[in-house]
Subunit: 340 residues, 2 copies
Amino acid sequence: MRSKASPTITTIAEAAGVSIASVSRVFNGLPVRAETERRVLAAADRLGYVPNAVARSLKSNRTQQVAFAVADIGNPVYLAMLREIQPVLKAGGYRLVLHSTGADVGEEIEVLRGLGRRHADGLIISPIRVTGELLREIDGLTAPAVVIGSLPDGARVDNVRADSRTGIDLALRHLADLGRRRIGFVNGPLDTVPGRHRDTAFRAAMARGGLPVDEGLVHVGAFQRDTGFEATRRLLDRSPGPDALLCANDLIALGALDALRAAGRDVPGDVAVVGMDDTELAAVSWPTLTSVSLGSAERGRRAAELLLDRLRTPDTGPPAQVITVAPHLVVRASTSGGDR
Amino acid sequence: MRSKASPTITTIAEAAGVSIASVSRVFNGLPVRAETERRVLAAADRLGYVPNAVARSLKSNRTQQVAFAVADIGNPVYLAMLREIQPVLKAGGYRLVLHSTGADVGEEIEVLRGLGRRHADGLIISPIRVTGELLREIDGLTAPAVVIGSLPDGARVDNVRADSRTGIDLALRHLADLGRRRIGFVNGPLDTVPGRHRDTAFRAAMARGGLPVDEGLVHVGAFQRDTGFEATRRLLDRSPGPDALLCANDLIALGALDALRAAGRDVPGDVAVVGMDDTELAAVSWPTLTSVSLGSAERGRRAAELLLDRLRTPDTGPPAQVITVAPHLVVRASTSGGDR
DNA sequence: ACATCTACCGTAAACGTTTACAGTCGTGCC
DNA sequence: GGCACGACTGTAAACGTTTACGGTAGATGT
């Protein structure tokens, strides 16, 4: 065990017989005489000195931390982002402070305020509901922030978004190519950004493909497995029933697979199933799940890179970038029975 | 946009015509005259003042942050821990700094050193390889830390561990009850803590059950799906082949299921499969996977609670607690074909 | 009228750094 | 020898808070 109070730059200066400025210089790699460096390092080693990052932060006004705020870190989509963001930030010399807000706007606002308190130098946030209050708070930020997920035009903050419109188009085209006509849609809440976008996109894509939307085959619930299960059971009761299901995320799709199996329907023979987000679950389920990848990982990476750019050049730089990540369809067994 | 430099306690004091001490008191809820409070709050509001957390940390010597270090945050086991740890810390008023070290001992040591630099007030770490250097570094810590995963006796740090011995015992007993005798074992690297423990536990449990260990049915690889797939293919080539497989984690078990399906074997008819860790993947696979839960979530929660206790009472308290979380077996379709 | 008490408030020091500025000392050049 | 210069080094101020301490004003009691 070391001495009671941890040694500071002053302790070391005394022990080494130099000034605190010299100690500081040694630890910052500024030029000093070899002899001075030797003595400082010896004293520091002997007394177990470690520089205090808080004091340094106070002077430099930088914490070397970035906050990442999501609704629920258990959600594989956010996890995929996190896995990309973390190494990028680490490489840039920043630590990552994780906030899981439970989709509570109040908590999200707390995180935004935390940025003002200098908890972190920058922020990546992926809000699931974008309220006016949240937008105002974001606009008032003075530190750099990047929002993952679509924002209304005119927001003065960098924005990395998915393109669910194109993504859903890809999925429906694929189903149409397979000859499916009666396509059901199981969605999450319409007051969330993804829910709303996916609903609009579904209707637009159906129209574009010349397919009528049967409201009886459209179900709105939560982004959960239960919803997929219940909704599918209900849709299967209708006649004519669906010959394909588009699910607004992979969890819903897994529930749909459960329900179809329970009802003795063959996938994809009787009903083809497409999920969204292309999470790791899609590769594990049986049958494996065709899924629309909205590029979560890439969105995370781009967001982190964008933020690092902003942090490097604190002058305002270009006004507010919007990056849209292209989606792609990952075809697996639930639509194209061939491969496992 | 606000004025250029963000206002400090001094700015507010001047604007409100009071001293900086009064401003501080208002923001710390210390008693002040109502009129003073009103004026301070008005000035603060008008100028957009927010207290600087770094300066506060410097005075108080507390960052209100806790670091959590794991090998790979993509691993569902660590994710399960994280999901429990995060809310506990948040409730205790601490932010969570996440470190994903890529199983690199050097990086883990960096995190430990970061604690010395006062990046955080405490640390939860789950090292996968426990080297002497790491142990020495942990022993030298001055801030509270909790290690998730087994530590050698005598380590002077709180420790929350799993009980893979009992867990594997449960699994093998279950398989024995189902009449399985030729039990294969696919493990991860033996130089990791879990790998080593699971190897020892497997041999001990087999011995206890009076079952001989056929070395031809034991395979060591990585904790990955590929390993499960390749190992199982190889084990199936032997004759007599296994009638059950114990896999050292769920990913390996998923690979085993793939290989069995590819080989046309019925699960659990021909071969029963048991995974470990009971991750969310186990509930999604087909057939769903019987798995030994080592209580990742509970371990995370207990670790966080333990750390909060230490942080609350900075006096040393009880010397070094060891908590062992009891495992349990979650029986699903891969051993007991009945239910889906 | 005076002492005493209460309730606030302000001054200044401290937390552990970084860094502008000025000082010191030895060297090389005329 | 005197001077300029370069290479280091030290002093002190600053970063934005918290808080110990002492001071002031009014209220209360005698």
